[in-house]
């Protein structure tokens, strides 16, 4: 079952722990500027904090522009072949999400490799803004919301063993069609 590193921007607090652990894991340095994931913080309308990280596209634009074929999709992860790469940075420009990075100290572009399937950033995110989700479930919450918003949802509050609970239900049968 393949899994996708998914970002939930609404949950992100902008703490950048993901950046730091990524750089520590891949470069062994305390430097968030060497991470393959970065949190962008835009203000003010609305305040947005959003980690930008490789989507591991099935048809990767970065690989398409690579003049030496250094980017390969292997088991759903787009890998950068260090021996092939000529550091032209065309992939950095080509990524539609800006999810490949460059740093003066590093010869190669900095690109997410999914940490071999168990990404450090997902493990440390204190807000659950980064998740590893099975591909089959992608978009499920949106689908769910879409279905729920289709009907006029109502809420009632009730108490069960002294605990407040809420149940949502759809009002049907009253609307004149």
């Amino acid at each position: 079952m393949s899994k996708k590193l998914t970002v939930i921007p609404e949950q992100c607090s902008g703490c950048r722990i993901c950046e730091l652990v990524c750089a520590i894991k891949h470069f062994g340095v305390n430097n968030p500027k060497k991470a393959a994931i970065r949190v962008l913080n835009i203000y003010p309308h609305p305040v947005t904090r959003m980690p930008i990280v490789c989507s591991q596209c099935k048809s990767p634009p970065c690989a398409e522009v690579c003049p030496v074929g250094a980017l390969h999709s292997i088991d759903g992860v787009v890998h950068l072949d260090e021996n092939e790469c000529v550091s032209c940075y065309r992939c950095v420009e080509a990524c539609p999400f800006g999810a490949i990075y460059a740093h003066d100290d590093c010869e190669l572009p900095i690109k997410c490799d999914m940490c071999g399937g168990d990404p450090e950033c997902v493990k440390v995110c204190p807000k659950g803004a980064l998740r590893l989700i099975p591909t089959a479930v992608l978009g499920e919450s949106k689908r769910l919301n879409n279905v729920l918003s289709y009907t006029q949802m109502k809420e009632i509050e009730f108490y069960e063993k002294g605990e407040k609970k809420i149940i949502r239900y759809a009002e049907t049968g009253k609307e004149e069609l």
Binding site: S13, G14, N30, K33, P46, H103, P126, K127
Partner: protein, 609 residues
């Protein structure tokens, strides 16, 4: 043991008059002794004072502004986004500092320096841009008169990148409002002691930084292991989720329940409608996002939006407890949307929410008691909870308009103009008191009185512990807890980390010994680090003493000894002045200072080189 890492061993000095910048080496002895942050600030300010014969105008070009992160700033350590602004304060005329979170300090360090110092005055409104090893002073007269947050946006646009961190001042700082603050990262503030006015006096509208250097860490594996232990403890704490959700806003209900919430300029210590401005109210109708400082899992910052009504569209990073209490209950406002609007206005003007709330509260009470006349108020009435009048008063302070021109100089100036306001304002050394009532807590009164920057809770916050556990405390117990807080909390400000994991989740201070050791490679115990922090406390005391402060300045405000809260669990409580004097003397003795609060002559020798 010597330092192996942890520092770039570099200081960047900028002289705005000459338009010159210079990188200086920092010797190991300096780094080891003063650690970083406020420690660096105190020493550099002390040296500058000596150079100026212990006489300088805080708003003159000769006042040195020190901006110093610590060795742990930006490191893989919980809540490591802290950075100190240090200078002689234009509000108190004494040692001043204020720390700021977010990511500015991390970025500043990543340019490859341990501290930035600024003197002089630029010929026109300028921006300092530090781009890794390059440093330029850019004239940007078009920024004159711009609001803080707007300025940050314009600068990012002008530099053509979002990948910079910007510290700005608003109109308040430009107008030399003595309670002006420095704003960075869209709403984080170095709020207290008027650091924004110092930037204003130097014609320095903003500092933009971009750095991508590796931060020097001696043993990264050891640091990761230590952080994993600390983080696991924090994340498993029963209140961790609550901190993420409410942040410091949970303290409103806590303080109200215990009778330490300022209401109506501390006439009372409970607020009948506190539930309308508390954390639950925020979560129910206003909060739209979290905001964390660098590497902080607690993310105590809130981002709020007013969705409907008169203040619809107001977005603000905040409020936190202090801002909400001082701009809410302290001025009688029970409308959370109005509190958010006041908080946003203070941010845009670039003025401190605590001092502003305190001053406006005092104005309302002064008018109520007939000390201030309608003409003093420029013809406009102001009463408790009158949102329009309060917002207008805040605006006038920032713009120095009408009565705002007096208020902009702080509580002490109010007393000069209206002597009877002495019984109304609450300040120590000229700094307005923060939002915790000290009347039920002798240790808190002592903490405010002996804080080196004035009546702020940052050096010691003992009121909760004393109320909960202090019924049988002796004088010794009270003094000891203040001393311990002043050591530990000041150490956090030297290391460049936030104190909240320790204060609120009880993360052991012992971890910081490990963090420091892994980062610097120097084997030092927590006790030795606390001793260094203690030395810095002696140094800030020496600075204040050489600027004329003594026991007479370690005071408790009039209300604290003369006017008890009217209702609630602390009704009727005041601090007895004789008890306070006795406790203060004991505090001096334990610090090794004389009866007048002056450190011994030989202490000065410790800070010569």
């Amino acid at each position: 043991m010597t330092l192996k890492s942890g520092y770039f061993r570099k200081l960047l000095h900028v002289d705005l008059t000459a338009g010159s910048t210079e990188r200086r080496n920092l010797p190991d002895a300096f780094l080891e002794k003063y650690v970083g942050g406020r420690g660096f600030g105190a020493k550099l300010v002390w040296d500058n004072l000596r150079h100026n014969g212990f006489s300088l105008d805080p708003l003159g070009p000769e006042n040195l502004l020190v901006i110093a992160p610590g060795p742990l700033t930006g490191a893989y350590v919980p809540s490591s986004g802290k950075n100190s602004f240090v200078a002689i304060s234009p509000l108190t005329g004494l040692y001043g500092d204020s720390s700021i979170g977010g990511g500015f300090g991390v970025e500043l360090r990543q340019t490859g320096i341990d501290a930035l110092t600024i003197t002089g005055r630029a010929p026109e409104t300028s921006v300092l841009f530090i781009d890794n090893g390059e440093c330029s002073i850019l004239a940007m007269p078009e920024l004159h008169g711009k609001a803080s947050l707007e300025t940050e946006g314009i600068i990012k646009e002008r530099l053509g990148t979002h990948a910079v961190h910007v510290a700005t001042i608003g109109i308040g700082g430009e107008n030399l409002v003595r309670i002006a603050c420095v704003n960075a990262d869209w709403g984080r503030n170095a709020g207290r002691t008027g650091m924004g006015a110092i930037m204003g006096s130097k014609n320095l509208k903003a500092i933009a930084v971009r750095g991508d250097r590796d931060l020097p860490v001696h043993d990264l594996k050891g640091l990761v292991a230590e952080n994993e232990k600390a983080s696991r403890y924090m994340r498993e704490h029963q209140y961790f989720k609550m901190w993420q959700q409410e942040g410091l806003m949970n303290v409103i209900a806590y303080a109200n329940d215990r009778g330490i919430l300022p209401a109506y300029n501390f006439k009372d210590s409970v607020f009948a409608r506190a539930n309308r401005i508390d954390g639950t109210t925020m979560l129910d109708g206003y909060k739209i996002g979290d905001s964390a400082c660098f590497c902080c899992p607690m993310c105590c910052g809130n981002i709020c939006l007013v969705k409907s009504g008169k203040y619809a569209g107001t977005v603000v990073e905040g409020p936190e407890y202090e801002s909400c209490a001082m701009l809410g209950s302290n001025v009688g406002i029970d409308n959370f949307a109005a509190v958010l609007s006041a908080n946003r206005l203070c941010d845009e003007l670039g003025i401190d929410t605590i001092s502003t709330g305190s001053i406006v509260g005092a104005v309302i009470e002064g008018y109520e008691r007939g000390i201030l006349s309608l003409s003093d108020l420029d013809g406009g009435e102001i009463t408790w909870g009158d949102e329009d009048a309060i917002l207008e008063m805040i605006r006038k302070i920032g713009h120095r308009e009408g009565i705002g021109d007096i208020l902009a100089d702080g509580s002490r100036r109010m007393i000069e103009v209206w002597p009877e306001m002495d019984k109304v304002v609450l300040h120590v050394k000229g700094l307005e008191q923060s939002a915790y009532d000290s009347r039920p807590s002798m240790s808190m009164a002592l903490a405010y009185a002996t804080s080196d920057i004035g009546a702020h809770h940052t050096r010691a916050w003992t009121v909760a512990r004393e109320i909960e556990q202090g019924q049988a405390w002796s004088d010794d117990d009270r003094v000891d807890i203040v001393l311990y807080h002043q050591r530990v909390r000041s150490l956090f400000d030297m290391l460049g980390v936030c104190r909240l994991p320790w204060v609120e989740l009880g993360l052991s201070e012992r971890h910081y010994e490990g963090f420091y050791r892994h980062v610097t490679g120097k084997d030092v115990s927590l006790e030795e680090l606390l001793e260094l922090s203690n030395h810095v406390y002696d140094l800030t005391r020496l600075i204040n003493a050489r600027l004329g402060a003594s026991r007479n300045d370690d005071t408790i405000p009039y209300k604290v000894w003369a006017k008890p809260p009217l209702t609630g669990p602390t009704a009727g409580k005041v601090i007895d002045r004789d008890d306070f004097d006795r406790t203060l003397s004991l505090y001096y003795r334990k610090r090794g200072w004389d009866e007048n609060g002056i450190p011994p002559a030989e202490a000065e020798k410790r800070f010569e080189d």
